[in-house]
């Protein structure tokens, strides 16, 4: 299978299988042999799925797209950690060299009220898009923008905005939170736009509208556990939640 490593790892997988939305699911055990340490976690699942298809079984469905850690499509729990145990890494960038021969690995979908399971490891995260639609933008139509250098933005402001804007909307923060809160996600967008002068005219109404939508979608409240920050593959700081609260107050007191 892999050039130069003909033995590879033997792994014992326990994977959540669920045929469809609202149906009952269960864990199913799979034994994998000859897994190359150079594979990514998703490539290991690709190999499992090829075997399952050959055996006439249904493959394990999981979402993935860019496989380089930027699109935010992939994500599930690996041994209870969102995206697995490696810091600041999406599961598509987690490689098998971080596992040992004989390891047992439990794989299950994001669990959150606002993320219903669609099938196996695939969940519905459209609630996050609706939070953005509620106010996660600056209202400028195409065509009327002033020259890009007309409004100076300090390097600090630009860096602060960029830190928050690095969010890939994968949902790991929600899955890791005991309350199933989307505060880190929502806070990141509010903090990104509030850090820039271009985002100031709408800052109050934006925070109110996005937080209202977050509550409507069934996300829980933030109670400062900090699990979200710990699992975030893009190292978004929990400071954005404090910023979100300030922006909310600003809007509410207006």
């Amino acid at each position: 299978m892999d050039q130069g490593n003909h033995q590879g790892l033997t792994l014992y997988l326990k994977i959540w299988r669920q045929p469809g939305p609202g149906t009952e699911g269960k864990f199913v055990d799979y034994k994998m042999e000859g897994i190359s340490p150079n594979m990514s976690f998703l490539e290991m699942l690709d190999v499992l799925n090829e075997d399952l298809i050959k055996k006439g079984e249904l493959p394990v469905e999981f979402d993935s797209d860019c496989r380089e850690g930027i699109c935010g499509t992939c994500g599930f729990m690996v041994n209870g950690s969102a995206h697995g145990h490696q810091d600041a890494t999406t599961v598509c960038q987690l490689h098998m060299r971080h596992f040992k021969d004989g390891d047992r690995i439990t794989i299950e979908p994001w669990r959150a009220r606002a993320f219903p399971v669609i099938k196996d490891l695939v969940v519905d995260r459209s609630s996050l898009d609706r939070i953005i639609a509620a106010g996660g933008f600056i209202s400028v139509d195409t065509g009327g923008a002033p020259d890009a250098n007309a409004i100076p933005v300090s390097k600090e402001q630009a860096e602060e905005a960029m830190d928050a804007a690095a969010c890939i909307q994968c949902g790991a923060c929600v899955a890791a939170c005991p309350n199933g809160s989307a505060a880190l996600f929502t806070g990141a967008k509010i903090a990104h736009l509030a850090a820039l002068p271009q985002g100031h005219p709408e800052r109050g109404t934006r925070a109110l509208a996005m937080i209202r939508q977050m509550d409507l979608e069934g996300f829980g409240n933030c109670s400062n556990h900090g699990e979200c920050e710990a699992v975030c593959p893009k190292d978004i700081s929990i400071k954005v939640i404090a910023k979100m609260r300030r922006e909310y107050l600003r809007g509410w007191l207006k």
Binding site: C66, C71, F137
Partner: protein
């Protein structure tokens, strides 16, 4: 559209600087109260699709936006690292619209249409304004103004960037603009839908047929025009830097409904990617080519030298790019760097376990500038390299190898970005228009946003204002025919019940294309590729095994349909490469090279766009030509010696 085999691109008259202004004045407008009566279908929500959807909705049209991802924000534009070009001349270093235009035409090896490229350079300045107003956090100088850098060997600093995540940040700007219109009810966004057919009524594009990827339901959507922004076809090669769901099916379905496919053999192989580590490899990862500013490319002089790089003395190393191109050195354009890497590996001097890699070595720069210099500049890329390979590039040279990255070919469009099917507009990588035979770095983001924000909102309006578009519904016979066709194809894919998985066929198609329609092509190889693609297509329809059924989320069924299309498209790529008896840009024909082994263009015979028409039977596709006329850029042979 096509008269005696010659295509009319409907380029406005007048000097090149005035053409776009003229067209914008010539176009008929749709009155504000009438705009809401038109429904526009936009397929794909990358930079081109999302910017078009948002801009059209802002104008007042009803927009239906489709994407295969679970959210429109995940389209593959998101992965672009380096930056976006614009002729702002903020750096005061001699840039201008004229220079960006000139560089793009030359970089494309004189196989792009002048009028389109000039317009691209013109609107590039508006793109940056628009994105900043949306809150895109571009890099800044301490004084608060925008920072720019030089990229991809250009001599001016015209590339704007947002860390190594420029594509992501530009896409978020377009996505947010789009979601604002979703909230206002102007856009209906349908994610997890795959376009499986174009519906043509009375010769005009009037709708699409989609599969709901969650339920398998076949859905019919009627509109007054269709805007296709579904990206390129690099995944035909199986391994590429594209996302695993990027595919060619939407453009291929349109080709089979009559849209011409232009320059399918123009593919870009990017020189700096992480090499393949084994059969399990599912995609390749690009290392930004900015690394070539500070890294030196080398291989051992001796064949089969398997010593670790640190034990190979200086005089036994071949810095082959510096040796062959003393003035450009490691910064030669992408196509040249890729071919030379292949050449040394074919010569048995490649490195790593597979022998299909060359070293990109930062040791000299680290010695000269210090390790912090490298960490500040490339820290995130070095981390990504270590995550994937398990090797520390601060201590040992990176191993890199070329990989398929971008496709310059695509559906043929006129100056208005309309295909040969009236009412079908094609934007971004899905069309062929602006990059000729080789795309320059930081130009793809520019083109996607130019098409979506600033071109199609004008030209689409003109089409709607000047066309007779009868009111039709999904009960029209053409829609029923399309739905029947789509259903029967899915049923057929599921009923083969053979032995080989979709992935196995995909790998095989990729191997054929990589070997014979890749970095270096010749008559025998291309003839063989055509035969092999036909054989494989037959095998596929007899031996494919697709698990599950249609009425569920079934990613292997999705893949199967795309792969069946690659097996057809792959043949067209080879046919086009065989017919183009010259070397230009990314298309290198071994028979046509200079004594030094450089590409030899044939302007006398091949200065045209090759636009292929699908034959109604199984015969050879029909070639149409759009002559390329260069009135503003003197045609010269590229030289980087």
């Amino acid at each position: 559209m096509s008269n005696n085999g010659v295509l009319n691109a409907r380029i406005p008259d007048g000097p090149i600087q005035e053409k776009w202004d003229r067209r914008r004045f010539e176009v008929k407008l749709v009155s504000p109260s009438n705009k809401r009566k038109f429904k526009i279908i936009v397929v794909g929500t990358g930079l081109a699709g999302a910017s078009a959807a948002a801009s059209l909705a802002e104008l007042g049209y009803q927009v239906l936006a489709f994407c295969i991802q679970d959210s429109p924000r995940r389209a593959h534009s998101i992965a672009a690292q380096g930056g976006i070009n614009a002729a702002k001349n903020y750096a005061n270093d001699g840039d201008s619209i004229w220079r960006l235009f000139h560089d793009t035409i030359k970089g494309g090896d004189y196989r792009a249409r002048e009028a389109n490229v000039y317009r691209l350079a013109q609107v590039s300045v508006n793109i940056i304004d628009q994105c900043v107003a949306q809150g895109v956090p571009f890099a800044r100088e301490y004084g608060g103004l925008l920072d720019t850098r030089s990229f991809g060997g250009t001599q001016v600093a015209r590339t704007f960037y947002a860390r190594g995540q420029t594509g992501q940040q530009l896409l978020l700007g377009a996505y947010q603009a789009m979601m604002r219109q979703v909230d206002r009810g102007k856009i209906v966004c349908l994610p997890r839908r795959e376009m499986l057919d174009l519906v043509v009524v009375n010769g005009k594009a009037r709708g699409i047929t989609t599969r709901n990827l969650l339920t398998g339901e076949i859905e019919l959507h009627v509109g007054h025009a269709v805007v296709l922004a579904t990206g390129g076809y690099g995944n035909a090669y199986y391994l590429s830097t594209n996302a695993v769901n990027s595919n060619a099916s939407a453009i291929w379905r349109c080709y089979k409904r009559g849209a011409f496919f232009a320059n399918p053999c123009f593919t870009q192989i990017h020189p700096t990617c992480i090499p393949v580590s084994g059969e399990h490899q599912s995609k390749l990862t690009l290392m930004s080519e900015s690394l070539r500013n500070d890294g030196r490319v080398w291989v051992p002089k001796k064949k089969g030298d398997s010593r670790p790089p640190s034990q190979i003395p200086e005089d036994e190393r071949d810095y082959y790019l510096e040796r062959k191109y003393p003035s450009f050195g490691n910064l030669v354009p992408r196509d040249i760097a890729s071919r030379r890497a292949k050449e040394v590996c074919d010569d048995g001097r490649g490195v790593g376990e597979s022998g299909l890699a060359v070293f990109l070595d930062f040791e000299d720069t680290i010695k000269r500038e210090g390790i912090d210099y490298i960490r500040d500049k490339y820290g995130n890329l070095f981390d990504m390299y270590e995550r994937i390979t398990g090797e520390d590039p601060y201590r040992t040279p990176m191993r890199i190898y070329p990989a398929v990255h971008y496709t310059m070919g695509g559906l043929w469009v006129d100056y208005n970005l309309m295909s040969t099917i009236p009412g079908l507009f094609v934007l971004g990588e899905a069309n062929f228009s602006d990059h000729g035979a080789n795309r320059l770095g930081a130009s793809a983001l520019m083109q996607g946003l130019a098409d979506g924000y600033f071109v199609v909102p004008y030209t689409l309006g003109d089409y709607l204002a000047t066309s007779e578009l009868a009111e039709i519904g999904p009960d029209a016979p053409e829609f029923k025919e399309s739905a029947d066709y789509v259903r029967s194809r899915l049923t057929r894919l599921l009923s083969i019940k053979g032995k080989r998985t979709p992935r196995e066929f995909h790998r095989e198609i990729g191997r054929i294309l990589w070997d014979d329609v890749g970095m270096s092509r010749n008559r025998a190889g291309l003839t063989r590729a055509i035969q092999e693609m036909r054989r494989l297509r037959e095998e596929l329809w007899q031996d494919l095994r697709v698990p599950g059924s249609n009425d569920m989320l079934n990613k292997n069924l999705e893949m199967a349909g795309r792969i069946a299309d690659y097996a057809e498209l792959g043949e067209l790529m080879a046919i086009d490469a065989l017919h183009r008896e010259e070397s230009c840009g990314g298309h290198f024909r071994e028979e046509f090279q200079t004594p030094e082994g450089e590409a030899k263009r044939d302007d006398e015979n091949f200065s045209y766009v090759a636009a292929w028409e699908y034959p109604c039977s199984d015969d050879q596709p029909i070639l149409h030509k759009e002559p390329l006329i260069f009135e503003n850029v003197p045609v010269t042979q590229r030289s980087y010696k």
